[in-house]
């Protein structure tokens, strides 16, 4: 008997992507009975599900961000471990996006669909690297689904930052980063580049950094950036690198810093017009998502004849995937808002 095509057993519902024979949703957009969660960003990991299956790291991140939710049934799955759910077999595989991020592979009667959530292909010292898994349908994001998005080498971006620190030793470099993923990655990249001095971290970023460290990701000497009293810039910030949420870097909070060079780490910094909005003086093109080339490369790597696109700029990606001989389909899921700052 031929395997059933995934479109016969996976449905797009208002709650999100639903696996019928397993009776569960992947990254549901509202509270459901059974959810499998790819990663801890708030647009993918929402509160109120009765049962949740995810990596142990993602469960920890959810507990930190959403509260303990004691009545919730939580099931931790290691990468590669297979779990029977209804009539399906579910396993998680590294997505390379943030700590604990996973692609959800669902197999039903020999037919396989991989839901990748958000993913990237670059090496990242703070999370496990993406592993391509063979499947019949690959479900992809398209955050950077335009060919102008080709992320440069992140080490060169970090070098740009360190070069600026050298050139402006009297100033402080404040880097806008999102709290889950980007902050720790930038710290990890700085450490790899040989920056072993203390890195000052805004209060809103500290708990997630601590969580990473508790899960075996060393981040070196981190200090609270909130130490200075308002209006009295601290000398220790001169020549220092400070990380803060994007909302804080051009806000009142940043005034305590000595003549800050405002930096922002995001894949959106690739396009100058976009980077120039919001007063960024040093854009760092560091993204937690696959760029255009990597999206297309991934389709080849997983060998799926069919691509479903969940969110992002699906139009151009559909066009390019079709031109390469893939069947491409936009799921038009509304609600993945790119909390990770990309």
């Amino acid at each position: 008997m031929a395997s059933p095509h995934p479109e016969t057993w996976v449905e797009v519902r208002p709650q999100g992507l639903y696996v019928v024979p397993g009776d569960f949703y992947v990254d549901p957009l509202r509270a459901v009975d059974r959810a499998v969660i790819t990663h801890g960003h708030s647009d993918h990991a929402r509160a109120g599900h009765r049962s949740v299956m995810a990596t142990v790291e993602t469960l920890a991140i959810m507990a930190h961000r959403l509260g303990a939710q004691p009545e919730q049934d939580k099931r931790a799955l290691a990468y590669g471990e297979v779990m029977r759910v209804g009539e399906t077999e579910v396993s998680l595989h590294p997505a390379g996006h943030v700590l604990g991020s996973a692609q959800v592979l669902v197999e039903y009667q020999g037919s396989r669909i991989a839901v990748s959530g958000d993913y990237k292909r670059r090496a990242d010292p703070t999370c496990a690297a993406f592993v391509p898994v063979k499947c019949d349908v690959f479900v992809t994001e398209a955050t950077f689904g335009l060919p102008v998005f080709r992320h440069p080498d992140d080490r060169a971006e970090i070098a740009k930052l360190l070069d600026s620190v050298r050139l402006f030793p009297e100033r402080c470099h404040v880097v806008g980063v999102y709290s889950l993923g980007k902050a720790q990655r930038v710290i990890g990249l700085l450490r790899e580049a040989g920056w072993h001095r203390p890195i000052f971290v805004h209060g809103a970023l500290q708990p997630m950094c601590a969580l990473y460290e508790a899960h075996g990701v060393p981040l070196g000497d981190l200090r609270p950036a909130t130490a200075g009293a308002k209006g009295s810039p601290k000398d220790e910030f001169k020549g220092a690198i400070v990380l803060a949420p994007p909302s804080a870097i051009i806000d009142r909070w940043a005034r305590r810093l000595p003549d800050p060079v405002v930096c922002m780490a995001s894949g959106w910094m690739r396009v100058r017009q976009r980077a120039r909005q919001g007063g960024v003086e040093l854009p760092l093109i560091i993204s937690d998502h696959a760029d255009w080339d990597e999206l297309l490369q991934t389709f080849d790597d997983v060998g799926a004849p069919e691509i479903w696109i969940t969110h992002g700029r699906e139009e151009a990606l559909m066009h390019a995937a079709s031109a390469r001989g893939y069947r491409a389909r936009a799921l038009a899921l509304v609600g993945y808002e790119d909390e990770g700052g990309s």
């Binding site: 335009l146 060919p147 102008v148 998005f149 080709r150 440069p152 740009k160 600026s164 050139l167 402006f168 690739r270 396009v271 100058r272 017009q273 980077a275 120039r276 007063g279 960024v280 003086e281 040093l282 854009p283 139009e315 151009a316 066009h319 390019a320 031109a323």
Partner: protein
């Protein structure tokens, strides 16, 4: 290309002047020769490659990219050079990044038809920032907010010399400025300009605001008419003669009648006018002779040019600039007496006994070929630039502003093949970033002749940076003197002001865009 591309990439995000200076100085420290000299030329507007048009860049992209994907990308990015730079499919190549020197040399020696092939070869080894810098350099759309003045201050800081020293030698040098850097590096003496007919940075006046009139000590000033022509500098040294505009452009080719008459050695400051025997013709007659590489005999006969002399900088080789105005005036009079130069006359001193009398003369000057009065402090030396409190221009009457062309749109009817509707802007500080920006203040489509329209149309096509249907966004590099009847507040416009009956009073080919008027100037005219 690497250091240059990185410099541009930093400058474009940097609003603060001091930060820009630090970045440029750092670049001069680390970039090799002759690249840094070419970069200096690019930053100061001294480099242009008219052979390569924006359309060629799009064609180049089409060689490699799916047109559908390109269009979507362009819609998103909104800038042709940047879209091409970002979308360019990277190919592995063993070629090294081209150096800036190679790029400049390549473009200068490549036939127009071959330029795209050459550019394509450069694009492959570059990264996205390198490609962006290359395409911006080639299409002349650098716009990184660096004035020539700022670049010179950076040179001064780099070489630890006074900025006036840079100004002094600047116009005797040419890209890639090897001599200049050798001097600043202490490896060679200061470039020798002794026998060169170099341009000397002129002294400029501040506008005298109405509010300042009451407080001004008129007795300390000498008054002259401000003639409505083009400010020029006549330079003659070691048998070489030059006629410079006030920005240092050599405009001598269009005015052989003036240059041929120069039979002295020295440097004179004056107003270029058209007229016979001191009878000044309207500005638009002079305009007929501007922007021409050569000039016909008929033109010379019909619109003879002459220079009305305001000041003397060098008498022979004697530098008179440190002398006070009154002594220079005496030297100028003696000079004219001695040499009786053809095609030149003295700007007369306007005698007055009170500021009221002067004010009446200024107001009464309507309909003459003057724009108002010049007031020069009697004890002032001749100082390059626009020093405070020494020279004032006291313009008369009609409402005019100098605005910068921003967009041009195709006209209608028989003008439909011409870009004939012009939107122009005034400078202001961006309320959020504090960076200087242009904000549109009006639109005009008359006030120029058909010949001027042809020139304008060509200028627009050569300086396009973006297209939106029938509209072209152009480089911010051309100044219009815009005349208008009145100006009102208008919340509907981004600038907050609206002009009544704006028209192009004249095209200020000679005026740098950075010196166009600010929005505040218009706001002050609101009635």
């Amino acid at each position: 290309m690497t250091p240059f591309a990185n410099l541009l990439d930093r400058l474009i995000y940097t609003p603060a002047r001091n930060t820009k200076l630090a970045l440029i100085v750092d670049y001069f420290r680390h970039a090799p020769d002759p690249d840094r000299g070419w970069a200096l030329a690019a930053l100061t507007g001294g480099l242009s490659f008219p052979g390569v048009k924006a359309g060629a860049i799009r064609d180049l992209a089409m060689r490699r990219v799916d047109p559908v994907l390109f269009q979507w990308s362009y819609d998103y990015v909104g800038d042709l050079a940047e879209t091409t730079a970002l979308i360019w499919p990277e190919r592995r190549t063993n070629r090294a990044w081209p150096t800036l020197g190679e790029v400049v040399h390549g473009l200068q020696t490549t036939a127009r038809a071959d330029a795209p092939d050459v550019i394509e070869e450069w694009l492959d080894p570059l990264d996205a920032t390198g490609r962006w810098a290359l395409l911006k350099l080639i299409t002349g759309g650098l716009r990184v907010g660096v004035s020539a003045r700022l670049a010179k201050v950076a040179l001064a800081e780099y070489g630890k010399v006074d900025a006036t020293e840079i100004e002094e030698v600047w116009h005797g040098l040419t890209p890639p400025y090897g001599e200049l850097f050798a001097w600043l590096d202490g490896a060679a003496p200061r470039p020798d300009l002794e026998d060169k007919p170099v341009f000397r940075p002129p002294m400029l006046a501040h506008p005298l605001e109405d509010a300042e009139v009451a407080g001004l000590d008129f007795d300390a000033f000498l008054a002259e008419w401000k003639w409505d022509g083009i400010r020029v500098q006549v330079v003659s040294r070691a048998g070489q003669k030059r006629l410079y505009s006030r920005t240092g452009d050599d405009i001598g080719a269009g005015f052989p009648d003036v240059l041929d008459a120069v039979s002295f050695e020295g440097v004179l400051d004056g107003e270029l006018l058209v007229g016979i025997d001191g009878d000044v013709r309207p500005f638009n007659e002079l305009q007929q002779r501007l922007n021409r590489k050569s000039v016909t005999a008929a033109m010379l006969r019909k619109h003879p040019a002459f220079v009305r002399l305001y000041d003397i900088l060098f008498d022979g080789r004697e530098d008179l600039r440190a002398l006070p105005t009154m002594q220079r005036r005496a030297r100028l009079e003696a000079f004219v007496e001695r040499h009786a130069p053809q095609r030149m006359d003295l700007s007369e001193v306007v005698d007055f006994s009170s500021s009221d009398e002067l004010e009446r003369m200024r107001a009464g000057a309507r309909g003459t070929s003057t724009e108002g009065l010049m007031l020069k402090r009697r004890d002032a030396p001749y100082v390059a630039g626009r020093p405070k409190g020494l020279w004032y221009k006291w313009k008369r009457g009609p409402l005019t502003v100098d605005a910068v062309l921003m967009y041009a749109q195709r006209g209608h009817g028989k003008r439909s093949s011409f870009y004939s509707d012009y939107t122009f802007g005034a400078w202001r500080e961006n309320p959020e970033t504090g960076a200087a920006e242009l904000v549109p203040v009006g639109k005009a489509y008359f006030g120029f002749t058909d010949d001027e329209l042809k020139l304008l149309d060509k200028w627009v096509r050569d300086h396009t940076v973006n297209r939106f249907g029938p509209v072209r966004e152009v480089e911010h590099a051309l100044v219009f003197e815009v005349a208008f009847d009145s100006v009102n507040r208008s919340p509907r416009h981004k600038s907050g002001v609206a002009m009544r009956f704006p028209r192009i009073a004249r095209i200020r080919w000679d005026k740098p865009a950075a010196e166009a008027d600010r929005l505040e100037t218009l706001e002050k005219l609101i009635e």
